[in-house]
Symmetry: C2
Subunit: 223 residues, 2 copies
């Protein structure tokens, strides 16, 4: 093969570009909301015209679907890791969610989760909702597992995961990649904090770097 396969094939290039579109679109969707996002803006960030996007995605709804799907996939992958590496229900959740949050605010660049009702339509909406429900069921099982193994206090699993997911998803609203906190620091500190809420034996002190640091942080959001 020419160049020892260092050059992506046309098919690979297509996929690379599609990923770039998803990454940029996710950020705009997240900041402006799905209806507030124009394909013109997404295209502009990629330095192409709106119509060029249609070579890679079927339409706006499909693009929104791909963004959600990407986030769900990242979540699932990290929960796989959590389940493999964690010993207790609590640890599995902590490891999985730390990885998920880190990728959300880091690699993927603060993307979307906010589900505006009816923003996604048709079959694509059904698929995403199905995936999301599966994910939430999985999380709830881990909570219940933690209650059984004694790592988590008796708690309503629905409330527990919604509290955690709320705090986690909210991060994408205020986190700024140009700020002083790295994705790693934020996710460590945030997950330590939220899971302490239902840990059976909460630590006396918080140990994540951010909590130990002395300085005051601005309260400013990104807007």
């Amino acid at each position: 093969m020419r160049w020892a396969n260092a050059i992506p094939t046309p098919t690979e290039q297509l996929e690379i570009k599609r990923q770039a579109i998803i990454r940029e679109a996710a950020q705009v969707f997240n900041r402006r909301g799905s209806h507030g996002t124009t394909l013109d803006e997404v295209a502009e960030r990629l330095a192409v015209t709106k119509t060029a996007l249609y070579r890679y995605v079927k339409n706006k709804n499909h693009l929104l679907y791909l963004c959600h799907k990407e986030a769900m996939d990242i979540a699932a992958q990290n929960m796989d890791i959590g389940e493999a590496e964690g010993q207790t229900g609590l640890e599995k959740i902590q490891i999985g969610m730390k990885g998920y949050l880190r990728e959300m605010v880091g690699t993927m660049g603060v993307p979307v989760i906010i589900l505006e009702e009816k923003a996604l339509t048709g079959d694509e909406a059904k698929k995403i909702i199905a995936i999301r429900d599966t994910f939430e069921t999985r999380m709830r099982k881990l909570v219940n597992e933690g209650v059984k193994d004694g790592s988590i206090v008796p708690i309503n699993s629905k409330l527990a995961i919604f509290a955690m997911l709320g705090a986690v998803h909210w991060v994408t609203k205020w986190y700024s990649p140009s700020g002083v906190w790295t994705p790693e620091e934020v996710s460590d500190a945030m997950i330590e904090l939220v899971t302490r809420g239902f840990a059976a034996s909460p630590s006396k002190q918080l140990t994540a770097d951010i909590h130990l640091a002395p300085m005051p942080q601005s309260t400013k959001h990104n807007n």
Copy 2:
């Protein structure tokens, strides 16, 4: 006075109607996002036409502003109560936020907080951001007060309040007034859970009704 003032004056009626518009609009804004919300839908819920709304609000942006303002006012009022009744920083936060969340999902009917960047524009955006920053500063002071008085573990106050506000605001995404949980139950359980994350002496068990209940809850959202 006729009817012993039982009949609202024209000026009062105007304000009553404006409140009704805000209440309905807030729910739609919250579910559909600001850009996804049409004035037609808001009007339809009130059984009037779109144009009628313009007698009560300047334009869509102004209506969005009023919704945010309403939420901020409710938050501030409840924090006043929290500061008056709570003994420690932790208690002040717990009392205040419980009241806020209860009103959000109850009386006001699950309204908006989601700030889509640029959804609000101009002076109105500036005002809301200023109010929000004031609120967050207030919350952070209470966290620091709690750390000083020993009710809260040493913690980064920004992270603490954003975790809490994330969990709290997320409730408006999944709470259904037609479900089995009352606003009271949800807010008690949620605030107990999230504040336990930074309490200096976390309880061994959760005491809110929802956590004690045995049955499994559906994971279904409202969409």
